[in-house]
Symmetry: D2
Subunit: 133 residues, 4 copies
């Protein structure tokens, strides 16, 4: 599995009156990193959506170690911890240089657009396994 990272710059719209990135807004960066991670591994979320398969977040947890500030460039690293029968578990890190800012874990359910649970499609699983190792 390829484990690329994405780079993002912090703009005003990410920040709050504390002068740092708002705690919920890191989750935007995490979404972007998951989508790009999957794309690098051959999986296009838009194409899956067009097939009626979506992945709502059912759990998220984040530890905020150090804040990102306006003008910072950060990297968001993504790994898949587990592919279950109907769920996927991601672990992610946001770093500025070597400084760890946020550690996060996100769990996706696999569902139809009606939000009813579905098995993770075989080609999804295979794409990730093919790139693994």
């Amino acid at each position: 599995m390829k484990n690329p990272f994405i780079e993002r710059k912090i703009y005003y719209h990410h920040t709050d009156a504390g002068g740092v990135v708002y705690y919920a807004t890191y989750l935007h960066l995490l979404e972007e990193a998951r989508v790009e991670f999957l794309k690098e591994n051959g999986l296009d979320m838009k194409a899956l959506m067009d097939r009626g398969i979506v992945f709502p977040v059912v759990h998220v947890e984040a530890d905020y170690k150090s804040p990102a500030k306006y003008g910072d460039c950060v990297r968001i690293f993504t790994k898949i911890e587990k592919i279950g029968s109907a769920s996927i578990v991601f672990t992610q890190e946001i770093k500025r240089g070597e400084v760890l800012l946020v550690i996060a874990k996100t769990v996706w359910a696999c569902t139809g657009t009606d939000l009813k649970v579905k098995r993770v499609p075989d080609d999804f699983r295979q794409a990730l396994e093919k790139n693994n190792g």
Copy 2:
């Protein structure tokens, strides 16, 4: 037409590193005020959406006179300036007490969920005219 205002408090998520509400986020407050204004005049946007009628914003303009800050309570005032055959023009003001913070104008198109232009429904027009004067 009834011209109610809504009151909203400013939280961290509205603000940016400048210590004031982010310029795009005032537009969230304006959306809330338009929806509540129409509801007070008997128009439920959700019910219209369920009938396949939506109102995408096709134009917005805003003058930022003075900033809203964390902890402020603001009032958002809404008026309908014009109901066209397939559009609606709103003028709105955001105030903190007597201090004018933002003046805005928003134009909605009336469309189907396919975003193709539709005439503003008669009951929409009538509801607003009935309350007018």
Copy 3:
């Protein structure tokens, strides 16, 4: 301790292309509920900030049980689970009627505006304990 809830309506700006509230945006509602919970218990976050005391989020976790949709009215319930020497743990629930949508836990550090750890002020602790039981 008083355990009030706040009510919020879901607008377009809360939602995403899945037709439901975006996973990060529930955290905006959780912030609002914590601030109002503390205010009901006599604690004004703005006044604390003016004294140089802020409460950055150091941990958040959320289980998304069922989605909130455009036009929904939801209630956000807040409890304090623990007041540590330099941290506060909140547990919160978001419900639509009797339907549980989100369960969340948030941990605040207590810091100066320089983000260096501080003891939770005594009057903060006392206000919450006074209202307890």
Copy 4:
């Protein structure tokens, strides 16, 4: 003056229940494009901020011609229309391929961090003029 564009992909966090980018969220993309435009022309907003000079938005207007959707890649083009004594006027376009999605005009005031009006710094003006023509 260099007139670069930035490219951005549309993620869930940009969209709303209409399936398209939320009208206020385009303004996030516009902010990013202005910052990168200025950086390409030798102007670092963060460095200016550290010198106590900030540029609050005092006016914005946008025409929404066609929506951006989940998964779209868009380009945001930025031009400076005018540099006044204490203000800067930007015109911007958001396009998907050759399709024009949004035209926008934004006016910045030049102020201190106290939001009191200041003259646009000479080096700011010179950097832009040096790159002009």
